[in-house]
């Protein structure tokens, strides 16, 4: 396993793919990673694949669509849809929008295309790949960092499997060429990392451990960091907990309520701690902890608080 990227940005992979079970805060972590890098002057492109857009709202603008938009200095974003990726790629290969339309947008053909397993996903990944290679006018890479906010576990694995399946099943054609290029990027730990996001709860944790094993052992992809979200810290030492339990028995009214809340929090923190231990055993210092923020609707400032934590050394 490789260590976390260093602070300078030199030698860090330029392609990060963020995935995890649905509802664990994957998009928030993807954005925190993007903010962390862009605030240090790296030109970041955040790509949303098959995910619902919240960026527009956070940045106080309209939804991020299929055109790249600059959200903040050094931070741009785009949503990728299969249909649009297919059109872009198809037109590029065929060198004719007219031919593309005649063939691909024909109702009958497009129905058929939906059945070709993996074609839309390959093209979406292909678009991300294209941006990783893309050069600016000065001949340097246009983007210092591409962050892909990938679909949740099931679909995310499916997405990552596509190039592997295609290269093993096919021999010729553009799909194979694209898949080979993709795989060269995805499997190279100097260029790419798969970052996982999870919650300190039983199901997400066991799923994450399973996912990591599939990624590294079966798909041979480079695993990056594991972000565990919404951590609650207990603020009670053991003697304090004993005192709170005993005080709660006699307390009434607001005092009882406050003591009950403290025990609730402690119990939750303890349950979470068991899951963290499980994650630590498996992932060691690849683990990154994000606290639960005392807010319901995340603002950009909240995301930045998380971004600040990315580089902090792990607490023992």
């Amino acid at each position: 396993m490789r260590d976390a990227p260093n602070k300078t940005g030199v030698g860090e992979p330029r392609f990060l793919l963020v995935t995890g079970k649905g509802g664990v805060g994957k998009s928030t972590v993807a954005l925190a990673l993007a903010r962390q890098a862009s605030r240090r002057g790296r030109r970041v492109l955040l790509m949303q694949l098959h995910t619902q857009d919240r960026l527009g709202q956070l940045f106080g603008r309209s939804e991020v669509g299929t055109e790249i938009v600059e959200l903040a200095p050094c931070l741009s974003a785009v949503s990728v849809t299969a249909q649009e990726a297919m059109q872009e790629y198809g037109t590029m290969i065929l060198r004719s929008k007219l031919l593309y339309r005649a063939v691909f947008e024909n109702q009958t053909v497009s129905r058929f295309l939906k059945v070709i397993p993996g074609l839309p996903e390959l093209l979406m990944l292909g678009k991300a790949y294209h941006h990783e290679r893309e050069l600016g006018t000065n001949g340097r890479h246009r983007w210092d960092l591409i962050i892909v906010d990938a679909p949740a576990t099931g679909h995310g694995l499916y997405l990552l499997r596509i190039p592997i399946v295609i290269t093993s099943a096919l021999r010729v054609g553009h799909m194979v060429d694209e898949a080979k290029n993709m795989l060269a990027l995805l499997r190279n730990p100097d260029r790419c990392r798969i970052e996982l996001v999870t919650l300190p709860e039983e199901m997400p944790v066991s799923e994450t451990i399973e996912l990591a094993t599939t990624l590294t052992d079966e798909l041979e992809l480079p695993l990056g960091r594991i972000f565990v979200n919404q951590l609650v810290a207990s603020d009670l030492t053991e003697p304090e907990r004993v005192a709170v339990v005993s005080a709660e028995r006699t307390a009434v009214g607001a005092e009882r309520s406050v003591l009950g809340a403290a025990l609730f929090r402690h119990e939750r923190a303890t349950a979470q701690h068991r899951q963290i231990e499980e994650l630590e055993r498996r992932f060691g210092n690849q683990l990154r902890r994000f606290p639960r923020l005392p807010v319901q609707a995340l603002t950009l400032a909240d995301v930045d608080r998380l971004a600040d934590l990315i580089d902090l050394p792990e607490q023992p």
Binding site: F104, P117, L170, G173, M175, S257
Partner: protein, 373 residues
Amino acid sequence: MQTLEQLVGSARILVCVGRGGVGKTTMSALLARQAAASGRRALVLTIDPARRLADALGIAALTDEPVRLADPTLSGEMWAAMLKTDEPFAAILRRRMPDPAERASLEANRFYRFFATSLAGAHELAAAERLHDLATCGRYDLVVLDTPPALHASDFLDAPKRFHDALDSAAFHWLTGGKSGGRRGIRIGVGLGLVQKTLSRFTGAEFLSELTEFLSQMSALMEGFKTRAAETTALIRSEEAHFVLITAPASDAPQSVSESAEAMQSRGCRVSALIVNRMMPPVALPADTRALTALLQEAGLSNKAAGALSERLRDSAAEASRFAESDEAMLRQLEQRWASTLAVEAVRAFPQEVSSLAALDAIRAALFPERAR
């Protein structure tokens, strides 16, 4: 409009939908258990239940086939089955192709494995088919379905049709030289040769011809599928089937609930209940910490330690209270929008995941105060 209790007492199918992490599996188990407690024969059809919940229900070795949970406290019957999600397609195939030799030949096709595990909608389709079988077999009064996690709840509803469209697509009949394309009067507007040539630039000619062959084989196999898909759709749309939306009180709950409800209603389904789960319990805050400090001192802490701790506890309670208030505000917003058309119920959060029958029954008692006892 029916209450959740009435629904559990009379519906034949309850479909629980919601995003990952909202407690869908727990709620599905709970609704089935409540039906069983009220004397019905209830089955919960779930997907990979959390290990500890499974243990709690005594369903550690849960399989595709329903297992009855031994529980003398229930006047009815509670059954549970798990949808195998790793090979949804294999289950569909077994049904359509009973001859193992024939099946083996198809499974040997190099496209099969990829296709079988990855065709969009296969999971949802398998769930829908299984639901149909179990709900119509006559052994259960109620089947509660814990739907597979999907980005859009409607994936589940559209799967049979989409799957059918894909496999029965006139396009590949036409591409493979079948007659049905002509029968359906497809006017493709460009020549077959051009289409094949263009597509094979992407896929390679070999892939395209093998894939079309494979798909037409599948298509022949799926002849009976149309009827089944229609029956499943009709069942899900019938008056005996109700959708239960489950959400957490997150900031995007109003939007996601509206989207789900509209998606399902527009597909002719009955959305009947909304459960707002994981509500942080309210916390009352004392005006000052004197009484708290005194209590902690009585409990054995030193003067100084009790004072410091009570300050910390008050701050942390204030934070908990903000969470609770914001959850409460979210619930009110959801009630305002939905309480006139749906049975809206709130379920409080628990410090730990629900992992015992006692915990499950505690929620059940809160949701169904009369009958749970």
